[in-house]
Subunit: 405 residues, 2 copies
């Protein structure tokens, strides 16, 4: 039998699992005390729902779950699809379905927290997992910019609690991005394709982006003008005449409010090069970049059309997702230790005295985490291992604690 | 698009999600303070591992995940299996694999906590879900009866914390069960099949069991003798001469110790009719039955051979799993409320005053969970909904809280 975990997934050792729990609880605590409420959806979703969800590239990464029994036989015989379920690739599609299914029972606007596993059949590489945790807050039923302000402010609070150091929030609006591209001379129907290329700016640089756009056979003059924008990114104030004033003043309002609330703890700035991959975003998009570690640690945006697919009427929605695995990775590498956690004690006992041992251990459990362990044959060697495992001390049941140092 | 969650899975509303978190945290807290440590494994496992795992009936309930790309094409062309992954049906197989994969990094005996989703393609019915949470503690690397004593005592502590009322622990040993069946006159090779039938005693009664055994074409005299045992269940003391003394004294030791630790808060008793379905159990098996609600709320046993399948040497192991969904169901139905949770306040604000509103809300957040909500058009109607959603009170930003009652 194979002893490794499935490719792209992880087994977590006790210290890692403890850190994951600690971080998720911190996030949940901040979100909950800020008035968002946790909801839960299944990790398995209807295959057709997933397929129709505007998930962009992620739709190619769905793990499909096979039909069973008669259904499978029928599909095999008839040449139909062999699967009818899939693992969710994010938490936004499930949330939209959830809202459609439960909106009569929810207080609107619905301010939801989701923390859960999602699955993508990514090519395994450092920092890309096939099973990973997302932590989202979303607000469904409000189109006011104040919703973005609160989402960004709350996410920033959670990030500040986690000790990843200083960070910057980047914000853009899909409508501004589209206007800018049109002002360069690109046609309406090429905008999605250009955005996909533009989104790779981080990885392939300006030259790579220009080359890919040329390969796509787009208008040369437009590409050239676009290159000028990349050299000297547009500011919000420079957008006059290019873009309708609604989207611009909306972003300005968000930046002003978030800046006032930030207390200097983090930055927020407009960035016309911010795309965010998902096809379902319709308005603001935002991302948090750690000032010390590369890559985004959180991202989100407004998706006003996705829920409409379920209920046939448009419902405004906006969400922000913390890149949990990125933060977990950063803290693991930096040797982060959980503050104020109870010290661990190994209490050794003789098996036939288990009752006394449990009673003795219970006496210490207000103050310590006490693990009962049968007295080993070779005490010295064993205590080395106990120390290695991060225990503060040990004792025989009923005797005094000896520190391991 | 389909708005219902996939058949056999649930969407959880905020109050339900909060109760699930509360209960899982309680369990984790008890287990952790008793010296067990949480580990985490992926929900997806290698399909062959799952297939070879002695999971009994559960092997027929595995959700298979399809191969992808070239692999899938090759399988389709060559008539091979179309899947290479599956969703885990319990947490014991993943734990065994995990132990094999990580044992050099673990302190032995490994005292592990697992809380996670498992998946079974059950025929949907009340109380049977296709995605559900299991909460397990396991000890790997100890064959002493003291391990069972501590597992049972710790699980009982967790159950006591959750307010499901009084309960009884039933205990048996697979070796005793087998000896009893052999003493009735059944052949060694029919024991597994008989156990599967015997396990249904709860559902189909004695007559059903007898009928099914007859259908299976087993020896009539043996069935008759077995019927006598069912009428007058054997006690531990009545097992002399039927069964080796090791298993009997082992169970006696466990019962004596657990009884002494229980402080009269719960019962423990021997029950020769206790089977537990899993094929991998080799020694003690146990189950917790609520005195008030029917069905098991926890179950477990010793599986000394499962880990050997991964590492080629036998490693003793024993585990206890809390039936989380059963307990969640009981508490939901009984209208359980979470003790000492912070009261919820709805704070209404004008969108353009979001900064002030957030600052005002933060002032109250030590004491309350404050949800910011844009001032609605029809205040009276909206406040009815706020009350319905379980809020304690409301206010305009910066003004005094008014109770909703």
């Amino acid at each position: 039998m194979k002893i490794k975990s499935v490719k792209g997934t992880n087994d977590y050792l006790p210290a890692e699992a403890e850190l994951r729990d600690y971080l998720q609880n911190k996030i949940l605590e901040v979100y909950t005390s800020n008035g968002y409420q946790r909801i839960m959806t299944p990790a398995i979703e209807d295959a057709e729902n997933l397929d129709k969800s505007d998930g962009g590239e992620n739709l190619n990464l769905i793990f499909n779950i096979m039909k069973r029994g008669d259904k499978l036989q029928k599909a095999l015989d008839g040449g139909d699809k062999l699967f009818d379920l899939g693992l969710r690739y994010d938490l936004t599609l499930p949330l939209s379905r959830y809202f459609a299914n439960n909106r009569d029972k929810l207080l609107l606007p619905a301010k939801c927290i989701q923390i859960g596993n999602v699955y993508r059949a990514e090519r395994p590489q450092k920092g890309r997992l096939r099973e990973f945790v997302q932590c989202d807050i979303d607000v469904i039923g409000s189109s006011s910019y104040s919703t973005e302000v609160e989402l960004i402010n709350t996410t920033a609070k959670a990030l500040n609690e986690m000790g990843i150091g200083s960070f910057t929030v980047k914000i853009n609006d899909r409508r501004i991005l589209r206007s800018m591209l049109i002002s360069c001379g690109f046609g309406e129907d090429s905008l999605d394709s250009i955005s996909i290329t533009f989104d790779k700016m981080d990885k392939i640089g300006k030259d790579g982006v220009m080359a890919e756009l040329a390969e796509k056979g787009l208008d040369k003059a437009a590409i050239e003008k676009f290159g000028e924008v990349l050299d000297k990114p547009m500011t919000l104030d420079g957008l006059d005449g290019i873009c309708g004033s609604d989207a611009v003043s909306n972003v300005k309002n968000i930046i002003d409010a978030v800046r006032e609330l930030s207390g200097g703890k983090f930055n927020i700035e407009f960035d016309i090069s911010l795309v965010r991959g998902q096809g379902y975003y319709t308005g603001t998009v935002f991302e948090v970049r750690s000032d010390k570690y590369s890559g985004a640690v959180a991202g989100g945006g407004r998706y006003d059309n996705l829920i409409g697919k379920f209920i046939g009427e448009n419902v405004p929605a906006v969400g922000f997702s913390i890149g949990f695995e990125r933060i977990f990775g950063i803290l693991c590498e930096s040797g982060y230790t959980i503050p104020d956690s109870k010290k661990k004690i190994a209490m050794l006992y003789e098996p036939e005295k288990i009752v006394t041992a449990i009673k003795e251990a219970d006496k210490l459990r207000d103050k310590y985490r006490v693990t009962l362990i049968e007295k080993p044959k070779k005490l010295g060697k064993y205590l080395d291992k106990v120390k290695e495992a991060g225990y503060f001390g040990w004792c025989f049941a009923g005797e005094a604690i000896k520190e391991l140092n």
